[in-house]
Symmetry: C3
Subunit: 167 residues, 3 copies
Amino acid sequence: MARIILVTGGARSGKSAIAESRTLGLGPEAVYIATAQAFDAEMEARIAAHQARRGPEWVTHQEPLALVSALDATDGKPRLVDCLTLWLTNLMLAGRDWQAAGRDLVAALPRQSAPVVLVTNEVGAGIVPDNRLARDFRDAAGVLNQWVAQAADEVILAVAGLPLKVK
Amino acid sequence: MARIILVTGGARSGKSAIAESRTLGLGPEAVYIATAQAFDAEMEARIAAHQARRGPEWVTHQEPLALVSALDATDGKPRLVDCLTLWLTNLMLAGRDWQAAGRDLVAALPRQSAPVVLVTNEVGAGIVPDNRLARDFRDAAGVLNQWVAQAADEVILAVAGLPLKVK
Amino acid sequence: MARIILVTGGARSGKSAIAESRTLGLGPEAVYIATAQAFDAEMEARIAAHQARRGPEWVTHQEPLALVSALDATDGKPRLVDCLTLWLTNLMLAGRDWQAAGRDLVAALPRQSAPVVLVTNEVGAGIVPDNRLARDFRDAAGVLNQWVAQAADEVILAVAGLPLKVK
């Protein structure tokens, strides 16, 4: 069973850069599995900024929903999944059963022969959101984070760009 | 003086499960002091989900306001207070002096002969809330957390279901 | 090169008290560089509460924008900058180039002969804000935190009033 690493943190906490560096430390070439979908110009700019930072050692796969298939199809090189929170958003917007998808992901991790580094977001440390949808989303994000952290060999909390070891 | 443990974390960070496991590690039977009040169906569902996870080794007390009396009345077995943030909400909604109540709580902890594990929420790590009430609440929650952390022997931050030792 | 310490944390996480204690540990007298501007009564009350806690060993400078000049002008005694997040807010409200200002700050830190302790806020661990301005602000705050953390010798995360060593 290959190494599974979860990197969590708030917005702009440096979690993607930490995860990229960890992934490249696991092999000379790596696969970037992007779950982001650009719905508007703001999102396009965020995706472009992330891509600009990555070098030619990365192959990029875009996969907003079928994350398990993408992992199984790219096994052999270290993979970076960025990020679980957008994946969850995509699942919910598409009306999918995110709990079933999350359980499938957790089941798929042990069968990978090459390492997987997953990025996720801390979204539950602010004031309780006013609207039900936001509360349900942050609950789901927290549960998904717990499931993947349980399955991971290593869990890192990004704080101001620095890694804090949690597991 | 018995062991006092504070478990803090964001929403769905796994803090209740960590606190439950720590409490049961301190004695074969434990008392669950629930501060939650169900005002609506969503809240009822959250409370029911929490109760469903706990086993028969727990005796449950519901006490939205008189937390110190509940602690003094149940001394002898390990107690889990879940959670301080809802207690604070209840105090504020009832027009009570939360600072006086918080000081009473801190004064009551050293006289307990059996351990007390307290769960609380991190609510201050998001963007500054738009409305004054939410800002005042997160200030109060942060102050209460500091008071109890000061009085605790151990403070744990829950991150993705995992305990990070703070004190 | 003098010691540079960054103290980050959520609202009312005790970061200012930790930073004050660290600063006074670095010299018998210290300079408090306040970036806060009182726009309303609520803000005035927050500033007054902070000042009331500090003793006579502090000299206070108020500097909402020209932080680098304030640092250069006060070199010789330990300085506490409280806080970077308000400074960023001030820069943005004044229509300044916060990225250029942030780079100037990072460049100014190594030339200080006396220590600098900087307080900043975690604002990115809640749910994604509804409005663009808040999203841009939390992105900028996160980036600035990363820059200063990179330049710092020590980075501390305040949790419930307790310091958690990050770097």
